[in-house]
């Protein structure tokens, strides 16, 4: 049901009551969530199938009591695409490379009795690769489903203690945020240096690659959406645009330092959307607030209905911003992973090489196609997030011109 909810949410913002015509241009943005929903539904169905098959397999092996332990092993460890996909698109405390090889990342915990810092490698036994508890300075911790929980004295998980700690670990996504930030600082500080070193000259190299994009953000996003006061918002729009774009592209790279589903993480998109919301609200002028609280030219009885909707819309717009980016990027990762899962499903755990190979070729071709689409989406989502932020800023600083509204409504 979750994808359908997302789809509906994404379509809610089609007309957030007073949005300019520019926002209506994106028919593609409606297509992608739809795609996401379709694939997710399919995936859920498959998931069910696979778990069914797995349980049947284990049942039958358990019933038959075969002496072949290896066969039983491979059956009980049946490939679970749903779990694999979710594991890949959620945040982790270590960076998975291959097989049992992980790069442990630092765990930082805030506990009521003080900070705690250790490597996430301690949660894994090096010989058996089984998970284990770790006793730190203040408590004993376990890593369960990528969530750090506190064990009580009786050896059981203590829910109250677990709720009291705040996990501020350098997770895979945090590291990716650092990598993206480092790339941005490196690239744009050097571009800025190139500008100051030879002012007034034609751009060269990296500078000439970035300049059209910067001008694109300025002339095609900021200027038409915000109007004459656009300059104040340029730093945020540029940073957000390049941050999302670079992060999206990095997410498409399957090996370290890429592959993390950073912009497809709800916490990341939440932070960005909150920033857009704060900037919009802080910059809102009288005109903006009057349109939210008491739309001019609307009878009082209608205001009773309209004002709460507008206030809700104020929060709904950044919410939708958050969901859209999260869903689109996660969808891309899910699709790629789903296609690769097909290879293992049809390969039937190595028993059907022909099936695996046949589907593998098809999956490979289709994933290649999807990757090309993802390249477009990486840019498109950065553009849409930036454009909608700019439109919200524009509505916040817009001056009086009622004739424009009159023509819209």
């Amino acid at each position: 049901m979750f994808p359908l909810v997302i789809f509906l949410l994404l379509h809610r913002d089609k007309q957030p009551l007073f949005m300019t015509a520019e926002a209506r241009k994106f028919s593609l943005k409606h297509l992608i969530p739809l795609l996401f929903c379709l694939f997710s539904l399919q995936l859920a169905a498959q998931d069910e199938h696979a778990s069914h098959a797995a349980s049947q397999a284990t049942d039958s092996t358990a019933a038959a009591h075969t002496s072949d332990a290896h066969a039983a092993d491979s059956h009980s460890a049946a490939f679970d695409p749903g779990k694999m996909i979710v594991d890949h698109i959620t945040d982790t405390h270590d960076w998975h490379l291959w097989g049992h090889t992980h790069v442990p990342l630092p765990v930082i915990l805030y506990t009521p009795s003080g900070f705690e810092c250790f490597s996430s490698g301690v949660f894994k036994n090096h010989e058996t690769h089984a998970s284990q508890a770790h006793t730190g300075k203040h408590h004993t911790y376990v890593l369960e489903d990528e969530k750090i929980l506190v064990l009580g004295v009786n050896g059981e998980v203590d829910p109250t203690l677990s709720a009291s700690i705040i996990d501020v670990s350098i997770t895979k996504n945090v590291l990716t945020i650092f990598i993206v930030s480092a790339i941005m600082l490196l690239v744009f500080l050097s571009v800025a240096r190139a500008y100051t070193r030879k002012p007034g000259q034609a751009p060269k190299g990296l500078q000439s690659f970035m300049e059209p994009l910067i001008i694109f953000v300025r002339d095609d996003i900021a200027k038409p959406s915000i109007g004459p006061k656009y300059e104040k918002f340029m730093p945020y729009l540029l940073t957000v645009f390049f941050f999302i774009w670079i992060a999206n592209l990095l997410g498409l790279v399957p090996v370290i330092p890429g592959g993390a589903n950073m912009t497809g993480n709800i916490a990341v998109t939440f932070s960005l959307a909150v920033l857009t919301f704060i900037i919009t609200t802080v910059n809102g002028n009288g005109h903006y607030w009057r349109h939210i609280l008491a739309m001019p030219g609307v009878p009082v009885w209608a205001l009773v209905l309209l004002s709460p909707i507008e206030v809700l819309g104020m929060f709904l717009r950044p919410f939708v911003l958050m969901i859209r980016l999260f869903a689109n990027i996660s969808a891309g990762h899910i699709i790629a992973l789903a296609f690769f899962s097909l290879i293992f499903i049809f390969g039937d755990g190595g028993k059907s090489v022909g099936g695996g190979l046949g589907v593998g070729v098809a999956s490979w071709l289709f994933t290649t196609f999807m990757m090309c689409l993802e390249l477009l989406i990486a840019f498109l989502q950065a553009y849409v997030f930036t454009l909608l932020s700019a439109i919200y800023f524009g509505s916040a600083v817009e001056d009086h011109h009622h004739e424009a509204h009159a023509s819209h409504s």
Binding site: N173, M184, L189, I266, S330
Partner: protein
């Protein structure tokens, strides 16, 4: 549900890092980059404007030259025309003067001729008169050689006088 539950740690790191990047880039990248782009755009615009201006001025200058040339040509034509006219006038005047002179000469010649003729006529008259007188004297002398004849004449003269 793990997928749609925002993690507080990640929100903290994300906000912290993003704001730091935003601050650093705003101060050290976007500000100079946007400033430089704007300045360059302005200089390009100015250069284009100046080129346009130069073009217009060039056109004006060219038109001025044309005008000047046309004026010079006109002036030349004017001067030539005046010269021609003057020449014709001078020639005409000369011709007229010559004609007048010729006329005057002819007239004076005619006058002289007339004078000469008159003088000759007078001279002729005088000579005829003196010849006539001499003839008359000789005749009278012959007729009045006797007294009778003198008396006869006197009588005749008297008779004529009475008749008158």
């Amino acid at each position: 549900m793990k997928l749609v539950t925002p993690d507080i740690g990640l929100i903290i790191w994300m906000s912290l890092t993003f704001l730091t990047v935003l601050f650093l880039l705003s101060k050290f990248a976007w500000k100079p980059i946007l400033k430089m782009i704007r300045e360059r755009e302005k200089s390009i615009e100015d250069a284009l404007g100046a080129a346009e201006q130069a073009k217009v001025e060039m056109k004006k200058l060219y038109a001025g030259n044309e005008q000047l040339l046309r004026e010079a040509m006109n002036e030349r034509d004017q001067i030539l025309k005046i010269a021609r006219e003057t020449k014709e006038q001078i020639v005409a005047e000369a011709r007229q003067k010559a004609a007048e002179e010729a006329e005057r000469i002819v007239a004076s010649a005619r006058e002289t001729i007339r004078h000469e003729k008159m003088a000759a006529v007078i001279d002729l008259k005088n000579q005829v008169a003196s010849l006539s007188l001499e003839v008359a004297e000789k005749l009278v002398r012959q007729q009045l050689s006797s007294d009778d004849k003198q008396k006869e004449l006197a009588a005749k003269l008297v008779a004529d006088a009475k008749l008158n």
